[in-house]
Symmetry: C2
Subunit: 452 residues, 2 copies
Amino acid sequence: MQATICSQIEAAGMGSADHLLVAVSGGIDSVVLLRLLSVASNQFGFRLSVAHFDHQIRPESRAEAEFVEQLCERMRLSFFFGSGDVPAFAKEEKISLEMAARQLRRVFLLRTAKRLDARLIALAHHRDDQVETFFLRLLRGSGSAGLAAMKTLNSCWWRPLLGCSREQILDFARKENLNWVEDGSNADTSILRNRVRHEVLPQLRELNPQLDERLSVLSAQFQADEDFWQQHVAKTITALIVDHSDGLRLDRQKLLGLHAALRVRVVREALRQVRGDLQRIEAVHLQSILSLLTAHRSQSQLDIPDCWVARRYQFLWLRKKAPEKVAAYAFELPVPGRVDLPDGRFLRAVFTEKKAGESAFSVEFDAVRVKFPLLVRNWQFGDVFHPQGMPGKKKLKRLFSDEKIELEERDRVPLIVSGEEILWVAGMRRSQQAPVSADSAQILRLELLEGD
Amino acid sequence: MQATICSQIEAAGMGSADHLLVAVSGGIDSVVLLRLLSVASNQFGFRLSVAHFDHQIRPESRAEAEFVEQLCERMRLSFFFGSGDVPAFAKEEKISLEMAARQLRRVFLLRTAKRLDARLIALAHHRDDQVETFFLRLLRGSGSAGLAAMKTLNSCWWRPLLGCSREQILDFARKENLNWVEDGSNADTSILRNRVRHEVLPQLRELNPQLDERLSVLSAQFQADEDFWQQHVAKTITALIVDHSDGLRLDRQKLLGLHAALRVRVVREALRQVRGDLQRIEAVHLQSILSLLTAHRSQSQLDIPDCWVARRYQFLWLRKKAPEKVAAYAFELPVPGRVDLPDGRFLRAVFTEKKAGESAFSVEFDAVRVKFPLLVRNWQFGDVFHPQGMPGKKKLKRLFSDEKIELEERDRVPLIVSGEEILWVAGMRRSQQAPVSADSAQILRLELLEGD
């Protein structure tokens, strides 16, 4: 055991300049870890401090804290105590006691490590914990990322006993005549974990006595795979991001060109970037996003936990929330005069006698043949108009879709309406109404302009 | 169930031009599959034939074959019968009965399908089998490739019931009033599979009633991953193969430049290419090959099942077997005259009066100062010589290693020995002995030449 710890210390590169914080619950695993690290600290010269978190779940927890404090006194080690009302926190956050204890303990340990300038926090998880975690995740249907389970070194979290079995730890504790309290963490483990520990694993170990070694190897393989995927996905997604000014826009064609195994991971990474994490994201959510990409409809959207995902023609668009709907509006456009639009642009109407030529943003009508007043409004379902240069009427919805105008954009397009007729789909197309001819005495010029 | 089969048939693209061979043991799974396919064949128009393999493990097997034959008669389907002495084959090949039955049955089905020109062979594996296979492989410590388990369609093997549970199959059989024999395959399944089926899985399903669905999803994910890896590895290995004229040589630096997760798979693929398959290759073998790459020794080798793997400086070299050792030899080199070398090259010795200049393959000595006769032999441990242009003696082994001459090459290098002294390490370096000077009356010229 001591040799294992020493090789782990070497692998972690701990030296005399380092300060190590070790989390000690007072249970056998952490007491053994403390003993091993304390012996090693003399050899390697790093400083050792102890942190204990009182989760206040059971009445004995206070006594456990005192046990650890006294142990530290005897060992002449600094002792840092933290506590939190885990049951209250669990209730407040609507999470399990186990989860609440883990979160509060985690925060306490990180804070303590920061205060001490400790590079690593040692935790006493061992191989049996690892195998249990593997099976719990398997039972919950985690993907291969979940099955990678715990890492020996994961940022500042260090688990030097991850290669040791519960049996080895027990042997060591007995041989060294150590005292410990019944591990508080056993009590707050979930019923599922306990059943995996006491029912499932003993049965499986009977079928294969090498189960734990095999699963350790498998977990390590999954970890290597996950690391590969992280790098590969990070490299891939960069080439797919078209825009990240408003959520994330990915190129749909390029997404579809990826291998399915890579595509699903790129989508998951996009979710992670937009949401900040992947909590509550399940395989079914990823599947529904992937279905968007190949569905018949070129524009559709779906809500998944803490994220809104849309296909917009050749893009996949992810946002934390759905974009705000543009409120319906209708203003009179005075002529001459101007109207400010909700998005900051404005419309200007003038009478003139000289043609200046037309563009998508500036159109001209024979003023005599236009029915006033003019109305500016956004589009409504059922709108129809007669575009210049086309034989008949066209549904506005159809125009939008032919021009691949995204749903959110459509609401921003101002229509200039004269009586029953749409004169101009501003920024896009004018109608055939009242064209300027050689005979036109007065010209009505309408312009769509960016805000000042 | 019928709908499931129909959608599977569509996915497999079975049409009226196709001939489908279905493997029927007479057990409930295959009887249900046969019924479903027979109904579907009317709709889709493909031809259906039945194959049954009598494994001769139990006395009832003959009766089972008759049951299937009569079933086919009633259904007016062609019946193909095959049999083999599974116990004898198992003994001969030193494999389990289950493995032997599977291999013989597989050969029979493939042969029958080929004779009938059947594109696919339908097998009755269902989701419970899939989950069992998953757990068996997990228990055996398979990597993620193994956990991908069975595919619905894998070359000509087709498993249209893979999405259906045993329960669904039983319901269907009862509702349709089908007859079946107790499945022969239950008897020849291993003890391990039976324990997984009857002990492990019921317990796990109790902990998670959605276990089967979850594991199906996980298997599908592993399958997608495996497919990705296959493509990625195939693309990667091509750029790493330096030579494939004698086994396979891979570029060591490029291998080391790969991500660990990719590297181990490239090595596995190299093994597959050299050996033809990956049978008996375990994680430990892959690890030992990877260790070769980074070990201190620049030349070392190891034997793994059916393969020999060596590091030779900047190469990883894989062969089915270790290269043949060059037999030790020692010949007298007549002057003038020639000696044929075992590898097809030859050495020529002449006396001359005119210098022609030296190269690695042609050297000149002052004949008067050379002690005759000359001996040609390959190197021996302990050989030392005095290279021209160097202050002192040098171990031949050291010369070889400085020049990065691979172990196998070293035995092919002919030494020309005069008395106790090595005159020439042919093809590499001459010694300082008897250099030609202005006074040299007669020159001894030695040449190493390619065979005629």
